[in-house]
Amino acid sequence: MNALPLFASCAAMLMGLGLYALITDPEPLRKILAFNLLGSGVFLAFGVISRRVAATEFEGDPVPQAMTITAIVVAFAATAMAVALVSRLVEAGGRATVASEASEEPDADGGAS
């Protein structure tokens, strides 16, 4: 039980690192990794909570575990979509960056496919 504060501070650190990298790092792939880091921090927090809230009959509360599983799947799908977008962006000849250039204005597509 006394490992819980350690895990909790790990979770906080992961979230902090992820957040920092997500905001400051310009490369999209690194941002995706940062997002995963952030997500891992949250999942770890869920684990800590599951342990903390556990009543005496269970080792860990099952509800946060279920939420973690769901969230992992969601994060996985998100990562997949993000990576697909990055690779498609590179394929389409654009620079792999989220920065909007001053002259960039997406061509208003009126409705043609």
Partner: protein, 543 residues
């Protein structure tokens, strides 16, 4: 529904249905000939519906109510008359001009709004129809499609929407003050006189209605709009549309409670506008611009009368102002129509055209036995004998000057061909309006029980009205030559400041756009996110 209810409903519903019919192209192409007939039910309602009748549309909880009271009926009647004659005028005037569809649609919008505003007796309906009126009027101004017209329309709609925003706040506050769920205007006026927020609401109402009525300093849209619009549009804009604000003031302001300080302020503002309009108008050449400044002056005069009524607090000013406004509707309408007629007239036939114009024009100054003279007589009561009377007299002299300036400018704008005759479709509506402007005030005056108003034929009364006109005529000879020497104030005087402001605004806009671009960079947005989180947490925590 009773007959009176049906007639009231028809007055509003007929123009509205015509407007909706314009959605179908085949109806739109034939709609021009229907324009003169659309206001007829409204005119009939004025004659056949007894004062005090009301009409309620909708459920008991949420409804629009309309009622015909005496000032509203007065204004509705003359406005309907002007709409009919201007509509007939427009039939000939619009032949061969572009943008007919836009003119027709906006005309019908303004017509519906105009009739509705005179009849509306609850705040929501009033606001709705006022908005409809404003949009229709704005569209009418743009029909020339010149940059000048669009500029005038932009200034008009901005000021009008600003005014309506102020009115909306006033209405919301009034609705909060009225006990129960009623939104009726008469309940609002009662609640206003005893409200703790009375001063604020009064300020909002006067600012809002004043802007729409052209009270200085928010008057500069008038010269721009009236000169840029087509002639029949100018006629109803200056005649019928702007009187909605006057009626609004009459309905909302508590004129049966004495409010000396507010009354003095309003009267002073009105008096200032009355003089200011004429002074600037004397520097103008174009007939329509001169007429617009005369409107500024006359609207100021009417607001001055309302102010005097607020000081006295006896409710006399309501009918007096309504009568004055009714006269002004017809006179201004006729004068604007005459501009269009004169442009099509050649030198040979000019004097026949100018004679009725001259009579009515000088009538605004108060020529005895004209409609204007009667109107001045009727408002003499509320104006009293003090400063207001002096200001009114000065205004009468100055207005005569201005009207002579107008006639001069009108004569200059004659057609190039000496033999040109204006089409009958232009002349007859104009003559009808001119005749109505002489006849209708008399008819109304004679309907008042004798003894309530001074006798118009008494020598003292006639002289009191005549000498300012004569003085003005005498002053005109040297003065008009003098103003021709100097003084070119651009039409819309203060409006030049708008151009300066627009330049500044553009710079600010570019700066904001740059700031937005900077904020939309990813690191900046990320930092804002964190900052926001901290701020929100701190703010909630430090409860």
């Amino acid at each position: 529904m009773s007959d009176t209810g049906t007639l009231l409903m028809a007055a509003i519903v007929v123009p509205l249905c015509l407007l909706l019919l314009c959605l179908w192209p085949w109806a739109l192409s034939r709609m021009l000939s229907c324009l003169p007939f659309a206001p007829v039910p409204a005119l009939a309602a004025v004659f056949f519906v007894p004062a005090g009748s009301s009409l309620i549309l909708g459920s008991p909880r949420q409804n629009l109510s309309f009622a015909l009271d005496v000032p509203g009926g007065l204004l509705l009647g003359v406005a309907a008359l002007l709409w009919i004659t201007s509509g007939t005028y427009a039939l000939s005037y619009l032949k061969g001009r572009p943008n007919q569809a836009r003119f027709i649609v906006c005309w019908l919008m303004a017509l519906t709004g105009s009739i509705g505003v005179f009849l509306a007796s609850d705040m929501m309906g009033f606001y709705f129809l006022l908005a409809l009126l404003t949009i229709g009027a704005c569209g009418l101004i743009t029909c020339h499609d010149t940059p000048r017209a669009w500029n005038a329309a932009a200034i008009y709609i901005m000021l009008a929407l600003l005014a309506e925003s102020l009115l909306l706040v006033a209405f919301v506050m009034l609705a909060a003050e009225i006990p129960g769920n009623s939104l009726l205007i008469r309940d609002a006026a009662v609640a206003l006189s005893i409200s703790p927020h009375r001063d604020l609401i009064l300020a909002l109402l006067i600012a809002g209605f004043g802007t729409k009525a052209g009270l200085v300093p928010c008057h500069f849209w008038m010269p721009l709009a009236y000169s840029a619009a087509l002639t029949p549009a100018s006629a109803i804009l200056s005649g019928a549309v702007v009187k909605a604000s006057v009626l609004g003031m009459l309905r909302f302001l508590p004129l049966d409670t004495a409010l000396p300080d507010w009354g003095t302020a309003v009267a002073a503002a009105g008096g200032f506008a009355a003089i200011y309009g004429v002074v600037i108008g004397l520097t103008q050449r174009e007939p329509k611009v001169v007429l617009a400044y005369s409107s500024v002056s006359q609207m100021g005069f009417m607001i001055g009368v309302i102010g005097m009524g607020m000081i006295a607090g006896d409710g006399r000013a309501v009918l007096a102002t309504a009568f004055y406004a009714a006269n002004h509707v017809l006179v201004k309408g006729a004068l604007f129509l005459s501009v269009g007629v004169t442009v099509a007239t050649g030198h040979r036939h000019l004097r026949w055209m100018l004679l009725p114009v001259a009579v009515i024009a000088v009538g605004i100054g108060g020529l005895p036995l004209t409609g204007g003279g009667l109107a001045k007589l009727v408002v003499g009561g509320p104006l009293g004998d003090g400063t207001a009377n002096t200001v009114a007299t000065i205004s009468a002299i100055a207005t005569t000057l201005l009207m002579l300036q107008f006639l001069h400018g009108l004569a200059d704008s004659v057609s190039q061909h000496p033999e040109a005759r204006p089409a009958a479709g232009l002349v007859w509506p104009w003559l009808t309006t001119a005749a109505a402007s002489l006849a209708v005030p008399w008819a109304l005056f004679l309907a008042v029980p004798s003894g309530m108003l001074p006798d118009p034929f008494a020598a003292a009364v006639v002289w009191k009205a005549l000498w300012p006109v004569l003085a003005g005529a005498v002053l005109a000879i040297p003065l008009l030559r003098w103003t021709r020497r100097f003084g070119h104030v651009p039409a819309g005087d203060i409006a030049v400041a708008i151009d300066l402001l627009a330049g500044r605004a553009r710079t600010v806009g570019k700066a904001v756009e740059g700031l937005d671009g900077a904020l939309r960079q990813w690191p900046a947005a990320g930092v804002s996110l964190l900052a926001l989180a901290v701020a929100l947490g701190a703010v909630i925590f430090a409860r």
